[in-house]
Each structure stands twice: as structure tokens, then as C-alpha cells.
Symmetry: C2
Subunit: 245 residues, 2 copies
């Protein structure tokens, strides 16, 4: 018996997200479990560090699972990639202690949100970006980042109807920069509430539009009220870059 830590890349376009759901065939977790069960010759339960939503991508999702078979660890990515669909790739497999848990043990996660800022869409990145055609005030957005960094109660940036036990999270870094014709937001924190990154992006967009003022940001955070923040930016712009331990 061995506990295996998997680093995964996936294109979330054709999936209903990470987590197995009733009546939904296509989830990343299910595809992984199906492939791992073939290797293990009995069912396998996979735990993911982040329960990414429908349409959200990953270049560095981490998951772990207990395998009964004595497969050499260096053979795991090759064996898995042969069984997985084209849009899920196992980049790395490591043997870890039996008590390792990909979600509970993670100390931080990093996400990227891509905004494609051009009049015309691009057919090649259409599934990986949020296409926003209006001018963006980048310097205003950059200034807003400072208000999010640090430890705050992020209730205003949690999807309404969700009740996380602990809404206090620490944002270690948050940067926004231009990679023409795109604008990338990169955010690293010890934890994220449901839709938190996407609501932060929507709030920055509304700031850029002038619907929200820079001086409002602090109040929106302290209000602990979802209705004060901006809209939820679309899922396909979001990518989980890395999980830290």
C-alpha cells in the first residue's frame, strides 16, 4: 500500500469541474479514479487539493490516493497518461507518507485569471480567457490589489448561499499585469472561498469601469456582504497554477 501525490494539468472546458457529482458523467476526479482503478485493479478514491469549478483549468492541481499495487512510482505518470483523456495529464507522481492529504495539508494555492482585452476574440484561447472588449484601467486595478493583500474576512467575496466555516483568509500576494493582448491577475493565498478569485476579478473590472471607486474597496471588504462586491467573472478565465505544502 502506498500513498501517491499526483501533480495534474487539465483543460476544464469539457468537464463539470473537479468533484464527482451525481448525474454528471464528466468530472476530473471521476476520470482520474477510472484510470487509477485500472492500474490498481480495484476502486481508488482520489482527494484533490482544490475543487475547481466547471470550466476552470489547472496546470498544477495536486491530488493524492492510496494504491494497493506495488507499481514503481516513476511508472505512474506514464501508465496514467495512457489511460486518461487528452485533456488531463499527470505531470508528476511522488510517494508520500501515509498521512499526507492533498487538501488538508496544503499551506497555500496560487491562481491565475486571464482577461483577453481586445475587440475581437481569439479562437485559440477562447476557452482559457474572459473576453472583455472595453478599455481596462490597469494602474487603478494595480492600486486595488494592495487592499486585498493580508488577512481579511472575505465574506463579501464568497458566492452567496455558501457558508464556509472560516471566512478569514490571508492573501500573500496579488499582482495584475499586462501580457498583451491579455491582462493576468495572479493571486496566492492560504485558502480561497467559493468563487472568491472570480468575484475579486469582477470587482476589479467594475472598478475599471468606474462603477466602483478605489476608496470603496476597503469598505466592500469590511462589509462582509456579497452584494457589495462586483460580479462573478466567468469560470473559463481561471487556472489553478500551484498548490504549496
Amino acid at each position: 500500500m502506498q500513498n501517491i501525490k499526483l501533480t495534474l494539468e487539465y483543460d476544464g472546458t469539457n468537464y463539470s469541474g473537479w468533484q464527482i457529482q451525481k448525474n454528471t458523467v464528466y468530472t476530473i476526479q471521476e476520470k482520474l479514479q477510472e484510470a487509477l482503478a485500472k492500474i490498481n485493479k480495484k476502486p481508488v478514491k482520489v482527494q484533490g487539493a482544490s475543487r475547481t469549478d466547471a470550466g476552470v483549468h489547472a496546470t498544477g492541481q495536486v491530488a493524492n490516493c492510496i494504491l494497493d499495487v506495488a507499481i514503481p512510482i516513476e511508472r505512474v505518470p506514464v501508465a496514467l497518461n495512457r489511460l486518461l483523456p487528452d485533456d488531463i495529464v499527470c505531470k508528476k507522481a511522488e510517494k508520500v507518507g501515509m498521512d499526507f492529504h492533498s487538501r488538508y495539508d496544503s499551506s497555500a494555492k496560487k491562481y491565475r485569471y486571464r482577461i483577453f482585452n481586445k475587440k475581437l476574440p481569439s479562437v485559440f484561447v477562447r476557452n482559457y480567457v474572459y473576453h472583455y472588449i472595453y478599455d481596462i484601467n490597469l494602474s487603478l486595478m494595480k492600486q486595488a490589489c494592495e487592499y486585498f493583500i493580508g488577512t481579511h474576512d472575505f465574506t463579501s467575496f464568497q458566492a452567496s448561499g455558501c457558508a464556509a466555516k472560516n471566512t478569514i483568509k490571508t492573501i500573500e500576494s496579488m499582482d495584475i499585469y499586462q501580457r498583451k493582448p491579455e491582462i493576468w491577475l495572479e493571486i496566492k493565498g492560504d485558502g480561497f472561498l467559493y468563487n472568491m478569485v472570480r468575484i475579486i476579478v469582477g470587482t476589479l473590472i467594475e472598478l475599471s469601469m468606474g462603477k466602483i471607486q478605489l476608496s470603496d474597496i476597503k469598505n466592500i471588504i469590511t462589509a462582509r456582504d456579497r452584494s457589495q462586491a462586483g460580479f462573478t467573472a466567468p469560470s473559463q478565465g481561471l487556472t489553478l497554477l500551484e498548490v504549496y505544502y
Copy 2:
């Protein structure tokens, strides 16, 4: 009545290529004609500069069509993009003389072929590259380019079973360079035989593998025999970049 020159971008992944075929629903030409017919309120015939194959992409395909409606030219891209599927975008529309023909009048075309040269595939570019896991001898490939540049009979680089009237083509430029983890071949010429770029790429790969020697390249060209050249590299790595007039 006006003759319209359209510049088009498309992701060829889900199509059977440019040209309308019997029993094939998904072709770029058909999707365009359907959209244009709605604008024109009667059937429209679209002529494309390049009949790109199934899986081949374009950032700068050019097509033209005669429209009966008096739609202002600057409204055409907006109207078309509203009707076209997400993987086809009209980038530009220009009014041209009634005698303009996108294919017959083109003086040159430029293509790019992308090789993804890494052990692990990338889920995000999987439809736009040829995934080749072995080492590539880039300097050898660069040297080979010199043999292709100029005017030659390219019969050796034409899909077998095809008989183009004129197999003599002029390659104006051919460059190969690294864009880690990819290798890009860019080739510009006055015309290309069926599968010509893909067979040139396959030949360069076989050169890199040592199956073909640099000193063989000249003989392969002069042999005018398809069996002398390398394999046909997969279609999804190919993109039509530009058509010149």
C-alpha cells in the same frame, strides 16, 4: 452588389477542413456560407484562398464573396461574428473590385508548423501542435531549410495520388526556430502542393532522427518521387498565417 474580401481566423479542430464536402456537415466554408446567407438573405458562395485540411488552423485565411445587400463594409465583421460559431472569427472585411478572387489573385501564402518538443504533452495546446517527444537536432534542420528555398519541382512533397497541374513552386523563405518548449517552422511561398508543408516537416523530423542525411535532401527534391521524402506530419500542427496579394 459588392465583392467582399474577408480575413478569417479559425480553430480547425472540429472541422473537416475548409472545403464543403458531401456528407460532411462541419466545414469552415459551409459555416461561413450559412452565416453570410443570413446577412445576404439569399445563398452566398465563398471562395477561400487556401483549402485547409481537416484539423488545420488559420489566423489569416482570406476569402471573398459577392453580397447583394447594401450592408456597410464596417458592419460585416460584427454581423458575421454574431452568426458564426465560436471557433471561426472574421477579423476584417474590405470592399474589393468585382474581379478580385481570393485564390487566383494571391501571390503568396505563409504557414507555421508547431512542434511541441517535450516529454509530457500540454493539454492547452494539444490541438495546435504536433507532440514530438524525442530530441530535435535544430541546427541540422536549419541547414536543410536552405535546400528548399528557391524554385523547385516539389513533386516529392505532394501527397501521393494527387496530380497538381503545376508542381513547380517557389519557396521565398523557410525558417525554423525554437520557442521553448516548441519548435516553429515558418514557410512562405507562391503556392503549395497538397500536404506539402506537412511532408516537408516529416522530412525534417526524419533528418533529425538520422533516417535521412542532410546530403540526401537535394536528391529527394530532384527525385520527384513521394516515397523518397519523409512522413506526413499531423495536420493539427499547421496554421495558415497569411495570404499575400
